[in-house]
Symmetry: C2
């Protein structure tokens, strides 16, 4: 089988219980790797998405079926007998930009030590979802051929508590995708321009800064691109939007097989479009039944939003 467009996704598969001003859910399926692989699956028709994660045996068959229906390979999804799936519960404030974490039960994720199946070790596109940076690094070290592109996400917890490990992992990746607060925390710079320069000196050749409802920035050493966010009627539930964004990014890159800055620009626009669907309903609900034409239509809205004709003398 030709694997030149395949994606390897490592991260959490979880249960989430979410409360927003619009309502609340019981335990629903979530987790970074879930959002990433669902999102990527819509864009990468050329290759397959392979999921590496761990759940407990409380994880329902319908969850596995859902991945299957999207063509996502779950052979790397370990089901730990007698274990419980990672559980997160959170409550969003009225502005939807801040949230309180109510419960974090790591459960089987606490001892996640992924061993890549032999056939996964030459997959060209690797997306490391938010995890302990030493776990992320162990995945990179198991790869037998250097992937075309390694993208990683991280979060405030790792920046604060495992900085040395994080710095070692950063040296090995091509693209870091984080939000604006994390970029400031990691670099110690408030200005995102200055932050990007410092972070690019830590290893990544490309930095994506997600600004939520304010869009996303893409930096390399010489260039910068800004993808706007679409002004939305309502944000129903922001859970997973950042992961959906990352999945759209790597999904587009993998489908083209190209890693140029121009292709990455298109990647973050696809990521933004997918994320804009994600927030329309609770959890992964909206990501389960998207159509190609919905995605293309949304992408056009993003392009039209900033479209301007201007002549220069």
């Amino acid at each position: 089988m030709n694997r030149q467009n395949d994606i390897l996704v490592i991260g959490s598969v979880a249960f989430d219980a979410i409360e927003t001003p619009f309502g609340k859910t019981d335990k629903i399926i979530g987790g970074a790797a879930t959002y990433i692989s669902l999102s990527a699956s819509y864009l990468n028709n050329e290759g397959r998405t392979h999921l590496v994660a761990v759940v407990g045996d409380d994880f329902p068959q319908e969850g596995l079926d859902m991945f299957d229906q999207k063509g996502i390979d779950t052979r790397g999804l370990e089901i730990k007998a007698g274990g419980k799936t990672f559980f997160w519960s959170g409550k969003y404030h009225n502005d939807m930009n801040t949230r309180d974490t109510l419960v974090t039960e790591l459960n089987v994720l606490g001892e996640f030590d992924p061993v890549l199946p032999e056939e996964y070790r030459s997959i060209p596109f690797v997306m490391l979802g938010n995890l302990d940076p030493s776990v992320q690094r162990s995945v990179i070290e198991q790869m037998e051929t250097r992937p075309e592109l390694i993208v990683m996400d991280t979060m405030d917890f790792w920046i604060e508590n495992t900085r040395d490990e994080l710095m070692k992992t950063l040296k090995l990746v091509d693209v870091l995708s984080i939000n604006d607060e994390e970029a400031r925390q990691l670099s110690g710079e408030y200005s995102l321009v200055k932050a990007s320069r410092k972070i690019l000196s830590m290893g990544p050749k490309v930095l994506v800064i997600k600004k939520g409802e304010h869009g996303a920035l893409l930096f390399n050493e010489r260039q910068v691109y800004f993808a706007p966010a679409l002004p939305l009627e309502d944000v129903f539930d922001p859970t997973g939007a950042g992961d959906t964004f990352a999945g759209g990014f790597i999904g587009h890159i993998a489908s083209t097989g190209q890693t140029s800055f121009e292709e990455m620009k298109r990647g973050i626009l696809f990521g933004s479009a997918l994320a804009s669907f994600c927030v329309e309903r609770f959890g992964i609900e909206r990501l389960e039944d998207l159509t190609k034409s919905e995605i293309t239509g949304r992408l056009r809205e993003f392009i039209d939003l900033v479209q301007i004709d201007m002549e220069f003398v």
Copy 2:
């Protein structure tokens, strides 16, 4: 004289004392109408900018000369004998997005009751800087011919304390230019899409929502445009950025004589470009010595920032 591209600017001319993490100033020349007319003067080579404001006789000759050098007509700038010029003092926090007002001395601005010179009453482009909405309305009522375009700014204080007056004035204007928090306060809606719909039902045909470092949105009933903000190395002093933005907007519109949505899109991009210069130094300093090619170069940066080539199947 042909006045078809002329602009009438009403607002404050003031002394400001500003403190930022980068330093502090003594009393320097500021005020909404100052920033607006300086900014507009760079773009409107076809017409003249006419300033209507009030200062005390403590206002220095060099301030008057500065307007003169930019071709701004100050015959409508009343100098009140024995009066003191409006004084504002503020201190910005480290993130530059929030500030504390330390001193507000209204002085002569407290009794500002502008009487338009006869020759100002048919100027086609009117910019009402942030002022008591009943004062803004009195200006509109003095116009003998309905202007081509009336743009107004306002702020949280008037929304909170003089809402009835504000609503009466809103019915008479074409464009309202406010920031995101003011849009939320005025409409009672958090979503800017919903806010825009409510505000457009209050009178204005077009709404500009300024989001500071996150760009600006332009809405009419059917369309929306987003102008990005340029990621900046440093924001040195944000004072006057919103007024500079409004001045760039009306300056461009007046120079073309066109009020189509497409022209307004270009207008807010010009406004954004001018505002990005404004924040580079204290007060009006950077707005005193701009060149045409600097402005064109900056505009290209804004356009390049969101430039993307994308084919649709």
